[in-house]
């Protein structure tokens, strides 16, 4: 066999063998990876809307995914909103739960972030940040309390606290939530936010 023919044969065979091997591995792990993702979302939903029994995806576009959550007696108890946006260093992905009228944020959880450890990364910390996000009135866009206060009682209902030393990270989380809330309200007004419509389509 000439040299160039040998090169072609060897590369083709190596490519084919590894390609088929990867196809098998991909097939074997696909379901489990998807399951992990689902599980992560389920956990997050029950975290931001604690009375959740079942949840269903009712809206999805490039910037946000909305899950409608129902309690044990099958009543809609709120929406869990999965969204992301730019943080101080990288994309922050988060989820928050609202009541069905979109006037109250029940809770917030951060799913992915790469903020500075010890400073911006405190956005995942209950004590320093997340506890100030419980039960916020979001009829109007939320605002940031600066300088920070040391107890949720000292905040107005439509305010969230700043992390001292990580103002930008706190602001970014607030921006992500406010932007998605605004979009969500517009979507709801257009009547696109109902499980019935999703079932019909």
């Amino acid at each position: 066999m000439s040299l160039s023919a040998r090169m072609i044969v060897v590369l083709t065979v190596v490519g084919l063998v590894s390609g088929s091997l990867l196809a098998v591995v991909g097939l074997l792990t696909k379901d489990r990876i998807e399951m992990n993702r689902q599980q992560e979302i389920q956990t997050a939903i029950s975290q931001v809307i604690p009375s959740t029994k079942t949840s269903q995806k009712i809206y999805e576009d490039d910037s946000l995914t909305v899950y409608e959550s129902r309690n044990e007696s099958k009543n809609a108890v709120g929406y869990a909103v999965y969204t992301s946006g730019t943080g101080f260093q990288d994309i922050i992905t988060l989820m928050y739960g609202t009541d069905p009228s979109l006037s109250n944020i029940k809770d917030l959880t951060i799913l992915e972030q790469k903020e500075t450890p010890g400073l911006g990364a405190k956005i995942t910390d209950q004590e320093a940040f997340l506890r100030y996000w419980k039960n916020r009135n979001c009829e109007q866009p939320l605002s940031l309390r600066k300088p920070a206060v040391d107890s949720p009682e000292n905040l107005d209902p439509s305010e969230v606290n700043t992390i001292t030393g990580a103002t930008i990270s706190s602001e970014k989380v607030l921006d992500i939530v406010n932007a998605s809330l605004e979009r969500l309200k517009a979507i709801k007004e257009q009547g696109k936010l109902s499980s019935e419509e999703k079932n019909a389509s």
Binding site: L3, R6, M7, V10, L11, V14, G15, S18, L21, L22, V25, G26, T29, R32, I33, N36, E40, E112, T116, P117, G118, L119
Partner: protein, 205 residues
């Protein structure tokens, strides 16, 4: 060609004399990037070991078939396949670790330790010898990552494998888990390695 070493020496050289991190300065990207916690460093070490050992086995067993003009391309395809397998496996069974390591698992493809061993060793030696060499290099790499990540996690968070080991009096040095801490720790350790090397050499001569 230098005289053949015993299999034991072939293994041990990866631990110190030719340690990929401290002596060869290879694979610096994962070494610096993921050693902010012991569990991450260890997982990265294991993933790299998996890829290195299997690639060495495959390359050494088909070395005679590969025309030298396309050897690098062939090695990369083989390495990339094992890296993808490792990446999918971590994502499927250890999602938190997969998340923490982020892009650094796919980046094992371009880790010089792996391509370096194929080019320098597996393509010229028997399957058994390549396996021993890959095992030694992997152990050396894992040990280096463990040392680095232990120091960084201990000083940067006061913990070891997420267990609090330093008391509440300890104020974590945040810099140690930031990139700067990686460079500082690696620099100090490299200095130490060279110091030990020169000391032992002067004594033996």
């Amino acid at each position: 060609m230098p005289p053949k070493k015993s299999l034991g020496a072939e293994y041990l050289k990866g631990l110190w004399d030719e340690n990929p991190v401290f002596r060869q300065l290879l694979g610096m990207c994962p070494t610096l990037a993921v050693t902010n916690a012991v569990i991450n460093g260890f997982a990265m070490g294991l993933a790299t070991a998996f890829v290195l050992i299997l690639s060495s086995l495959v390359v050494s067993s088909i070395k005679k078939l590969i025309p030298s003009q396309v050897r690098i391309a062939t090695y990369i395809v083989i390495i990339a396949s094992f890296v993808t397998i490792a990446d999918r496996f971590l994502a499927a069974f250890f999602p938190p670790i997969s998340k923490a390591l982020g892009p650094y698992v796919p980046l094992i493809v371009v880790n010089c330790i792996i391509l370096g061993r194929q080019e320098a060793f597996s393509s010229k030696n028997s399957i058994g010898r390549s396996l021993v060499d890959a095992l030694g290099m992997s152990t050396g790499f894992i040990l280096a990552l463990l040392v680095l990540s232990s120091i960084r996690e201990l000083l940067g968070a006061g913990t070891f494998l997420s267990y609090q080991v330093l008391g509440s009096w300890f104020k974590p040095w945040i810099i140690m888990i930031l990139p700067a801490g990686a460079f500082i720790t690696l620099g100090v350790l490299l200095g130490l390695a060279i110091l030990i090397e020169t000391k032992t050499k002067t004594r033996s001569s």
